[in-house]
Amino acid sequence: MELGLFIPCFIDQYFPEVAINSLQLLERLGHKVTYERDQLCCGQALANAGFERKTHSNQKSLAKLYAGNFPIVSPSGSCVAHIKHHYPADEFEDFSSRFYTLTEFLDREDLPPMRLSREVKAVLQQGCHSVRMLQLARSSERRGRYFSKWENVLGGIEGLELLYTQRKDECCGFGGSFSVSSPDLSAEIGKAMLSEMEATGATTVISEDMSCLMHLQGLAQRQGSELRFSHVAELINEALA
């Protein structure tokens, strides 16, 4: 089907391989993907810092650029959550309802067999926006039937062993501007998560959110850790190849 691809501003500038992999995997699945180079930041960082009022032109511009009926897919839990939950509903409800994170979208698809050419032991970082705001999996706090769209999509990948940390979905500590306004706390929360990740024996950390990974990777590199950090898009594209 026809799809729009929304690439978060920092992925466009700093993690282009995540966007390339997202585009390629959607095309491999037979979709016609449109990417508008003039797309802007969704405004989340400024909004979370208390300046949502300065992001209105971004909101309008995005809605105009991607006007239409087709679904819009994005390799980012936090951007999609922000667009769906914080864009003014009266103006943008139809627009924001068309957004899906990558895994959310793939969970609705009939996926072909997926296989990695190597054995990968990966620990899944369940980002807060993805879990609690977008319900990609049942959070550890809630009760009721357990579900996980990640397990639905990634579980079928041959060669992939999916692991979890002890504290299954505690925050990674990034929190946007929190990472620099409360750097000590941000680092401690992230370091605690890294220890648990190391303890699983995984070689790679995967996530729906490059923002979480950017923070964790930064901490890991400072510690001299050998953990590798990959967006789910990279893994899925590899498994489809």
Binding site: N48, A49, R53, E141, R143
Partner: protein, 451 residues
């Protein structure tokens, strides 16, 4: 000092961060196990939330119904518009009975009003009889958690405190021994008390009665020993009907400590034959809070503390870092209304992870309110860096241009420049590797002819 600074001190200087984090995480795990036992857990949360929302929408009606019933049962009902009036009312009751001593069981409301300090200044001795509250009272500290007031203290510290103040064995920090020391010390005070003050977990409009949920027995012992009993509560503690109480008692202890129910769930409906029962209903800004569409749901709170136990920030900062009577996530959405400037840091003391909202037994949208408070706090602020960032992020050409420049600059900058520009990040983390081309650039080169 603002929360971020105090948190940094807690991390760097107290040596307690990991222990405090682990201790409260265990309480969160106990809560999880208790919730596991009830297949109807989410239904209960929804019911509790609905009952509280309804009550708040008719609070005036239910308060008057409560007063009518309570008066019929011979209870003295007092109304306090603010903290000062509350304190005067309580002192007045004690003065009329010529009492210079009173025992108290846990009440965050009396903390909020500064009752202890007020009474002590008037020459009345107040003895807090909860173990945790007594510990911090002896130590001259404020509670750091609304359910576990002394959770920030290790048992060695309690041992030292008791050795100094209660003449316990020096160096003995065995919890059972220390509890026994406290018990003997407090029992004397409780049994001799002529007046007892307690908090209230639930006030029931239909019956004019109040319910007090405790674990230690101090409240029950005190309220049944003393002739004069005084119960203080915020007006939001009301629920309409007796048969709705069960929804809350099934959620409260499980959310707070992981117990199925508190050891004592006591109901007080009338004074003892030779006694006097007083209820003090306190507003102290709650009506004003009720008038705020975005924030009124914060008044649904039943003071379980689950949001504190689950919060990655609270666990690693300690409750004192919030410099407020009620700390943690719920405190961060209640306190700013009382003083926006003084508490402007609290809604930012969060990563907006949403765990608090998910554990809240009455489904307060804490993480959404934190976001909304942030907009209010900065509504009239102008920040040059933010304005510059906003202009940049709103312009695709500027983004392409400055993005490329930033990546290039990062590749050629020495470490000390990076440190100068982004200390908060660089102090703890490496920066991400700056790629040579953006995705937009790659797309133009590889897909550019497919428009």
């Amino acid at each position: 000092m603002k929360q971020a600074g105090q948190a940094a001190n807690f991390i760097k200087e107290s040596g307690k961060m990991s222990w405090h984090d682990e201790t409260l995480w265990q309480v969160r795990e106990k809560r999880d196990a208790a919730a596991d036992e009830l297949p109807e857990w989410e239904t209960l949360r929804e019911r509790a939330s609905a009952i509280k929302s309804h009550t708040l929408s008719r609070l005036d009606y239910y308060l008057e119904q409560f007063e009518k019933k309570a008066l019929e049962n011979g209870i003295h009902v007092h109304w306090a518009e603010n903290a000062q009036e509350h304190n005067h009312i309580v002192k007045d009751i004690l003065d009329r009975h010529q009492l210079k001593e009173v025992v108290k069981s846990k009440s965050m409301l009396t903390e909020e009003c500064g009752l202890n300090e007020y009474l002590e200044e008037a020459g009345i001795e107040v003895v807090d009889t909860d173990l945790g509250e007594r510990i911090i009272q002896l130590k001259r500290e404020k509670p750091s958690h609304i359910v576990l007031p002394a959770v920030h203290l290790r048992r060695e510290e309690v041992g030292e405190l008791f050795a100094k103040k209660l003449k316990s064995q020096k160096g003995n920090s065995d919890p059972q021994y220390l509890a026994e020391v406290a018990r003997k010390h407090l029992q004397k005070k409780i049994r001799n008390a002529k007046a007892a003050i307690s908090g209230v977990n639930f006030a029931i409009a239909e019956t004019g009665s109040i319910t007090v949920c405790t674990n230690e027995g101090n409240a029950d012992l005190a309220l049944n020993s003393a002739r004069v009993q005084i119960h203080c509560l915020g007006i939001e503690k009301l629920i309409p009907k007796w048969n709705e109480l069960g929804v809350f008692t099934r959620l409260l202890a499980r959310s707070a400590t992981g117990q199925a129910v508190t050891v004592y769930t006591s109901h007080y409906a009338r004074a003892r034959k030779d006694g006097e029962m007083h209820i003090v209903l306190v507003d102290n800004g709650r009506s004003e809070h009720l008038g705020k569409d975005d924030f009124r749901d914060g008044l649904k709170c039943i003071r379980c503390g689950a949001c504190m136990n689950t919060c990655p920030v609270y666990r690693r900062s300690g409750g004192h870092s919030y410099h407020a009577t009620v700390p943690g996530p719920i405190g961060s959405i209640l306190n700013p209304r009382t003083d926006l400037e003084a508490y402007s840091d609290l809604p930012f003391a969060s990563t907006l992870c949403g765990s608090c909202s998910d554990v809240c037994p009455v489904k307060i949208d804490i993480h959404e309110q934190l976001y909304k408070w942030r907009q209010l706090i900065n509504a009239n602020k102008e920040d040059r860096l933010i304005s510059a960032a906003a202009k940049l992020l709103a312009d695709a050409n500027k983004m392409r241009c400055y993005g490329a420049i930033a990546r290039f600059a990062q590749r050629i900058s020495p470490a000390f420049i990076k440190r100068l520009l982004m200390p908060g990040w660089i102090d703890f983390r490496e920066l991400p590797n700056p790629p040579k081309q953006s995705f937009g650039s790659w797309y133009r080169k590889n897909r550019g002819n497919e428009i």
